[in-house]
Subunit: 226 residues, 4 copies
DNA sequence: CATGAATGAGGCTTCATTCAT
DNA sequence: GATGAATGAAGCCTCATTCAT
């Protein structure tokens, strides 16, 4: 467990926090409390005051860990991307066929998230909900260029790069590998959100996971697989 | 011009404003000032106070037109979708081939925006920048279900529906027409944002508009056109 | 009265306030309340919250007038300097002798302050106490060069300049007119403070105003008058 | 060296610190770090947190030495006064003429400060800057009467007393010896500050140290020396 | 209808301080 | 004795909104 733990968290850029939340109980409570509260009330309404009340701590204590709620959300998003990287790695171990590896990865990136019992301070299902609804706010803000320079989006870039390299294994002349991957990752988030809140912007079919089916088909069509 | 003008604005749901901004000079100044200011400082830092200072008016006056900055952004987004609808309509008039109409529409949805001189209170180029960066905040918020019931997203839905119907003309059995369209629209926004701020998440090629090329190719691959 | 009123306040640099406190009742209450409260608890402990409580208003309302307590103190100090200018002007009207005018001015600058009934929102006696104890904080701060560029110290400079010019009438070759004047003004504040709190740093003599006597004698000695 | 060291520091009132900073390396680092940081950012913005960061220690550790930043500034000011006493003593040794001793002392009190290599934990030049800008805050505060009772200003009083006694040697009937001395000491600080930040309040002359020249001339005029 | 004035509420942030090791 | 962790309290500031003219 320790090994995997460090795999996930060790990828997180140190500048996003003031004190590593994984080094103390309070830090872990901040993470789990944030996931609980932010999935419920949303990023806009989320404040350190409400969080501190919900975990029976104080604003000042939370400030010891994170400069502001934006960096806290960024931390969770980094964790999610790092966790996705790890999930993709697991799903492609020992598979020779590039096509099969790509398919598995696309499934990993777009399928519904289940609870992963390894990390008791992270509820992956609720974190996924947060990522779907809020993660674009991590970069859709005025700080984006500064945060980018700090390396806050490296885990995301690595994830995209890893999948893009599989695409290039399949078609070394393909022109838009990164565009295709990031469109799928972001697209999967949007479609799951639409399914929940704006169904006329998406398509759902009884008894199947349309989102994953759609994106697997899309990438295969685009890369002329089968 | 008046006709087209009303075509765009008349689609905007009345509940998003308290007083129609197009019925007065101040109202139009609010729109143009918002586009100017929000494209510069971003939605988060945008306040009615700053806006009123920038257009030499008062918070109270702006408040007569819009309940809050969220609805003001929603108004602009509606305007943008309505304007896109109109643009798509223009681009498909008198074209018989469904395939050609679809291609024209995808281009219209994804190409860079140029200044349209028809509406002196709207700078389309800056509005496009705002839409790229901020528009998802219109629905990625806790009000989404309420706003949806009010019909705030109808113009977006109609736009998606219109394109989806062309897709169904081409392949009446296609399973994911709305998903495909909304993925392209949102995807184009993301890719333009990435090109500007996070280039490793996208692909750009010298001298061509990769974003449009990519999405045109993607939809053709997916629908087996050519 | 109106005339004199504008004489004093009209000298105050507009950038020190956000809204002119003399244009409303609340503004005047802010001034009188600040003098009352700050003379009692000191600048360090003074907050907009305490002020707003003491005048039955709110912090936000005070913020409409002054950006921060530093600018509020600066305003009062400007007012004091402007009032001193006016006092010096009165005391030198129709006096031909430069020496007599200088003596009168030094007395005006160093003598104890009595209540001037002209300005009901300013208690000059308490303002003088504030100036003695706190006014050097107006420039002994990191903002000094910025504030100086804004012209916050012009009334002080004009006051010093006016007295220096009388000195030069008496001795056109005197090398340190400004130094002498500012040393006397600041020195009088210090000596009154020491008399109250650190008597061993000053000299008091029964039944006379030592401070004024000392500085009048000092300037006469320095300029070889009599 | 040890002898002189204790001469300076031994004069410092024990109640100003909780633990004598000269008894440990950390204590000396606190002093040198404070001089460095406070001369840079000013007393208002100076906090134990920033200090502890700058010397790689912790707030709690600093708190073991000083109750608050006010006492820390008071300590440095006491050290400065004590150092001035010592400097005056050196400058008057073996000089018979009262007039010459007085002149030397006034020069010592008003001249620019050079780096004294004896105390490696004190940068006298930067300490002088702090004293010029911040030292009046040591007594211009609500604690002044309490601190005075504790004896915090004794070294200052002794310094003034020592110089006053030379004045009385020259003119045993002079009425304002303490006032004259404290006016010169404080005045020299003000004039150096004005020269730097508000030059219109002082007079500077090419190639000479106007401040010292002025105050030497002033005291001679006042005491009718020469 | 537009605006100037005022404000209640609450977010954000830091400070000064204590406690446990 | 030194330090890492935690926190209560308070300051500072702005927002969104209402009221009166």
């Amino acid at each position: 467990m320790i090994v995997i733990h460090s795999n996930i968290a060790s990828k997180i850029n140190e500048k996003v926090y003031k004190k590593d939340p994984l080094t103390s109980d309070l830090g872990k409570k901040i993470l789990s409390g944030t996931i609980e509260l932010m999935s419920e009330i949303g990023f806009e309404d989320f404040t350190f005051k409400k969080l501190s009340d919900s975990i029976a701590s104080t604003e000042a204590s939370i400030y010891r860990y994170f400069e502001n709620k934006h960096n806290l959300l960024t931390y969770l998003t980094m964790w999610y991307w790092s966790w996705l990287q790890h999930k993709c790695a697991i799903k492609t171990i020992n598979i020779e066929s590039s096509e099969k590896r790509l398919e598995n990865v696309i499934i990993a990136l777009t399928e519904p998230v289940l609870l992963d019992e390894q990390f008791d301070y992270i509820n992956e299902v609720k974190l996924h909900l947060i990522v779907i609804t809020e993660s674009s706010k991590v970069y859709h803000c005025k700080k984006v260029d500064r945060d980018n320079k700090e390396g806050f989006f490296l885990t995301y870039k690595e994830l995209v790069e890893a999948v893009a390299s599989i695409i290039l294994e399949i078609d070394k002349d393909y022109q838009y590998p990164h565009m295709l991957v990031s469109t799928i990752i972001e697209g999967a988030h949007h479609q799951r959100f639409f399914a929940e809140h704006l169904p006329r912007l998406t398509d759902t079919h009884e008894g199947v996971d349309s989102v994953t089916l759609f994106f697997v088909q899309l990438i295969k069509s685009e890369l002329k697989i089968d």
